[in-house]
Structures are given as structure tokens and as C-alpha cells.
């Protein structure tokens, strides 16, 4: 894995700006609906389950389990492991597994959030816990 990989800064918008502000402080935020109680990711103003507008920010533990992955071997920027991980709080999300021997990634593996810098807010990735 190339450590020098450059990532574009998130564009952000009024709906998601609090996520990126928290990211700058190293906090991984999800949204939870106070009407139906469900957590979701990526964050929306309106709950994608019950459509209530009573959604609040909540800091995630950043602890997750690999749901699935694929080691992309043919890439001009070098191999990378794309994955879905399931957060301890419930929601699953797309990410890359980084900072490890990519050949050892496996389903069910425990991972934790790690941040990679951009020219703006940092981006969340996951690495073996």
C-alpha cells in the first residue's frame, strides 16, 4: 500500500458540515433518529427509515467488523482493499482497509477508524483493531 496516496478533500455541504468539523477533531459521527431510534450512515437530515426530521449527531465508537471486502489488484495507484464494515452502533459503510498487509484482510475481522489527511477535512478509513 502506497502511504503517499493523495485523497481529495470532501466538498461538504450544509447537511454534512458538522460531520467534517467533528472529523477535524478526530471524532467519527453518525446520525441517529430520535423518533424511531435507528442509527444511519452516511448522515442525512431526514431519517431514511421513518422519514422523521428528528435526527441527531452521535459519536461512533469507530469500532467495526469487516462485512465484506475485495482486494483490487489492478489499479494505477496501486492495490487497495475496498470493504464494507459494520459499526458497533449498527450501520454498515463503505471504506478501505488500510495500514496493514492487505492479503490478511478477512470477513469478520475487527477494525477501527483511522483518519487520512486531505487538503480539507480528513477522511475516515479502517485498520485492523
Amino acid at each position: 500500500m502506497s502511504e503517499a496516496k493523495k485523497y481529495n478533500a470532501p466538498v461538504t455541504n450544509p447537511e454534512t458540515a458538522p460531520f467534517w468539523e467533528a472529523a477535524k477533531a478526530g471524532k467519527f459521527m453518525i446520525k441517529r433518529c430520535t423518533t424511531c431510534g435507528e442509527a444511519h450512515y452516511f448522515p442525512r437530515a431526514i431519517c431514511p427509515f421513518c422519514f422523521s426530521d428528528k435526527t441527531v449527531w452521535e459519536e461512533s465508537s469507530g469500532e467495526a467488523t469487516v462485512y465484506t471486502y475485495s482486494l483490487m489488484r489492478k489499479s494505477p495507484t496501486g492495490p487497495y482493499a475496498i470493504a464494507y464494515v459494520t459499526l458497533k452502533e449498527g450501520p454498515s459503510l463503505q471504506t478501505n482497509i488500510v495500514d496493514c498487509d492487505l492479503e490478511t484482510v478477512k470477513i469478520g475481522q475487527k477494525v477501527k477508524v483511522v483518519w487520512k489527511p486531505t487538503d480539507g477535512a480528513p477522511l475516515p478509513f479502517f485498520t485492523p483493531a
Partner: protein, 385 residues
């Protein structure tokens, strides 16, 4: 209201090219349109409905103008964009428009040149900041589905390879197929790993080209000379991670589009004589066969093994043109060619070596987008009238 039997596919055309550096994309659209109109025995002035998707340069207005469609007659247009299955949805929507009297002769075109030049990036939605950095591509998004399917159901690379093997058995008889060589399970497993667990030979070809069809009323179809093929059931559906709740990448939106189409048609998977199943990757076929009910969820591996998809050998002949895995995948969009080979089978116009005997009922099914991320699915049940 049902569309059952309300619309017929009267004209089809698949561009023979697989590499077209000497043509424009709009030109390819015009060439396939001309081919389908002539196959139907109609003229351009008969067209009063036009359907195209994201591959059409500039979309509806420029295409209608470029093709010189008769704008005094043109009274129904639709640019539904759902990636590779757009044209399956167009067929359903054309039938709806025809059933409602909104048009009587609909033209659907697909064409483009991914082999010749770079394709525009996939448009992204509200998820962009939360996903683009992770590099989801077709290969790895389908790879993630395959990986989880293997984990949950014990599906093997050998089983997936049988899908490519079956496609190659069919492609050897298609003079236009990009890959005509018959391959073995070992060949697939020995091809380079692209994105685990998908090997190079688990992936479809990249081709320039296109295809088109004419959808019309029963009355007009019966006035023409081609064997009669009609749509008797249609379904469409979408699926995505939806906030990340209960993520399950082992099934596609076909679990919803399939039953909708079968119910409308009043038939079951057991009745199907020939199946066109979108084969962007081998895993796409396996998951869709399960989702459509040709076998139970998780048993797709066993179902596709040992030549079960080979015409004249197995129980469910599929993609007898060689499919996207071996013949053609114009503009990285496989929905149109799925319909075209199903129509050939129902007309009795498939290659004699792969023609299914008494082929009176066929399915054409596909997905669009990224199976492991966000995608659409559409199912069409076609009948020889």
C-alpha cells in the same frame, strides 16, 4: 392495467462491430436505429416514440434532432437512466406507453465506444464525500458481492468459472463475438486475479458498438413479416445500502423485479425455455439466477456448475450469443443485447448450434449500476406469439 401482450418487439439490430475508432457515438446510434427499423420493415417516419439512456450523446433533444426523427409525429420520449439495465426498463416503459396509447412505434437505441476512448465518470449523488475516496469500481463492487456470497453460502471460484465456460461454448458459434475460444474452468482459475475473488475471465469484455429495437402495437406487429415476439411481463426495482441498515450484498434488486414480471406474465421460472441474464461478471449471473427463483438462494453455485447453462447440455440455456462475458458488452451496458438474443431465440433465429428447440418463452434480465453499492434491476418475460 397490465402490459401483458400489449407490446411486440418487431425489429432488432445488434451492431456487428466490437471496435469502432472510425465512427462517432451518435453515428453508432443512427446505424443501430437504421438496422432495427429495417429489420422491422418500417421506416424512420413511422417512429412516434423514442427511448435512450445515458450513453446517448446529449440525451433526448440532440439525439432526436441528429437522427432526424419526424418531430410532427414523435409524441412520447423517455430517457430513464439505470445503467446497463436501462433498455430492459425502456422495453417495459415502451409497452406501458403503447398500452396507454401514447405511442405506437417506439425506437430504443444504445451505442458507444468505451474501447476507443475514456468513458465519462459515473455521476455520484449525496454519498459522494462519503464514498468516492474508496475507489469503488465495477470490478471490486462485484468482487465484494462474490466474497460475501462465498462466505455465506460456500460458493466457489470453480462454480463461478462454469458460467464463463458456458458462455464461451456459445460464443464459438457467433462470428461477431469478441472472444470465440472455448475455455475451461482451469483457464478461468488460471487467469490473473483482478479484484478478489474475481479473475480476469470472470469479467465481461469491453466493446464498442450498440444495439436497437422497435417496440410496437399488436396490430402493427402482425402487419409486418417477422415472427411475433411479445412482452408479457415486466418488473423493475432498485437497491442500495439505505443508511447501512441490515446490509446484505448476496442478493440483488432482482428479488423484487423478477416476481413482479413473473406475476404479470402468469408464468414461473420453471416455464422458461431460454434465459438472457446480464453477465457483467460471473457473480452477476449466479446471484440473479437465485434472485429470479431459478434455484434457491445460496444454491446458485451448484445450479450453474457442470454445464447446466450450456444450450443442448444443461437445463437452462443462457446467453446463447456468448453474452457479455465473451461476445459483446457495448458501452459497458448489457441490457440491450440481453433482449436481442432473447428475441432471436423466440424467432428461431439464433445460431442452429445454440437454438433452443420450441423456444416459446424467454426471460431477459439485467442490473445496472454497481451490484455491491447502488443498482437497479429489470426483468422482461417474452413470449413467441
Amino acid at each position: 392495467m397490465t402490459i401483458k401482450g400489449k407490446a411486440y418487439i418487431a425489429g432488432i439490430y445488434e451492431h456487428p462491430t466490437r471496435h469502432a475508432p472510425d465512427k462517432s457515438t451518435a453515428q453508432l446510434h443512427a446505424e443501430v436505429a437504421k438496422g432495427a427499423i429495417e429489420d422491422a420493415g418500417l421506416t424512420k417516419d413511422d417512429i412516434d416514440g423514442y427511448f435512450c439512456a445515458g450513453d446517448a450523446p446529449g440525451g433526448l433533444w440532440p439525439m432526436v434532432d441528429y437522427l432526424g426523427l419526424n418531430t410532427k409525429k414523435l409524441r412520447h420520449v423517455d430517457s430513464t437512466e439505470t445503467g446497463g439495465c436501462s433498455y430492459l426498463i425502456h422495453l417495459g416503459h415502451a409497452a406501458e406507453a403503447i398500452a396507454a396509447g401514447k405511442c405506437s412505434v417506439a425506437l430504443v437505441t444504445l451505442a458507444g465506444k468505451p474501447r476507443t476512448g475514456p468513458m465519462p465518470p459515473r455521476a455520484s449523488g449525496a454519498e459522494a464525500d462519503f464514498e468516492l475516496a474508496y475507489g469503488a469500481t465495477t470490478h471490486n463492487a462485484y468482487g465484494m458481492c462474490a466474497m460475501r456470497h462465498m462466505h455465506d453460502y460456500g460458493t466457489t471460484s470453480e462454480q463461478l468459472a462454469w458460467i464463463k465456460v458456458a458462455a464461451s461454448h456459445h460464443a464459438q458459434y457467433n462470428p461477431h463475438a469478441m472472444l470465440k475460444e472455448v475455455v475451461t474452468v482451469e483457464d478461468v482459475l488460471n487467469s490473473p486475479m483482478i479484484s478478489d475473488p474475481l479473475h480476469r475471465m470472470d469479467c465481461c469484455v469491453v466493446t464498442d458498438g450498440g444495439g436497437a429495437m422497435i417496440v410496437t402495437t399488436p396490430e402493427i406487429a402482425k402487419s409486418l413479416k417477422k415472427p411475433l415476439v411479445r412482452l408479457i411481463g415486466h418488473g423493475e426495482a432498485m437497491k442500495g445500502p439505505r443508511g447501512g441498515k441490515d446490509l446484505d450484498l448476496t442478493y440483488s434488486a432482482g428479488v423484487w423485479s423478477g416476481p413482479r414480471a413473473f406475476e404479470e406474465a402468469g408464468v414461473t421460472p420453471k416455464d422458461i425455455k431460454y434465459a438472457s441474464i446480464y453477465d457483467s461478471f460471473t457473480i452477476t449471473v449466479l446471484m440473479q439466477l437465485e434472485d429470479l427463483g431459478f434455484c434457491k438462494k445460496g444454491e446458485g453455485g451448484k445450479f450453474v456448475a457442470d454445464g447446466n447453462l450450456i444450450s443442448g447440455v444443461g437445463k437452462l440455456p443462457f446467453n446463447t450469443d456468448g453474452g457479455g462475458l465473451c461476445s459483446n458488452h457495448p458501452v459497458n451496458r448489457g441490457g440491450m443485447t440481453k433482449i436481442l438474443e432473447a428475441v432471436r431465440q423466440l424467432r428461431g433465429e439464433a445460431h442452429p448450434k445454440v437454438q433452443v428447440k420450441n423456444c416459446d418463452l424467454a426471460i431477459a434480465h439485467g442490473t445496472g449500476g454497481l451490484l455491491g453499492v447502488r443498482h437497479a434491476a429489470s426483468t422482461c418475460i417474452l413470449e413467441r406469439a
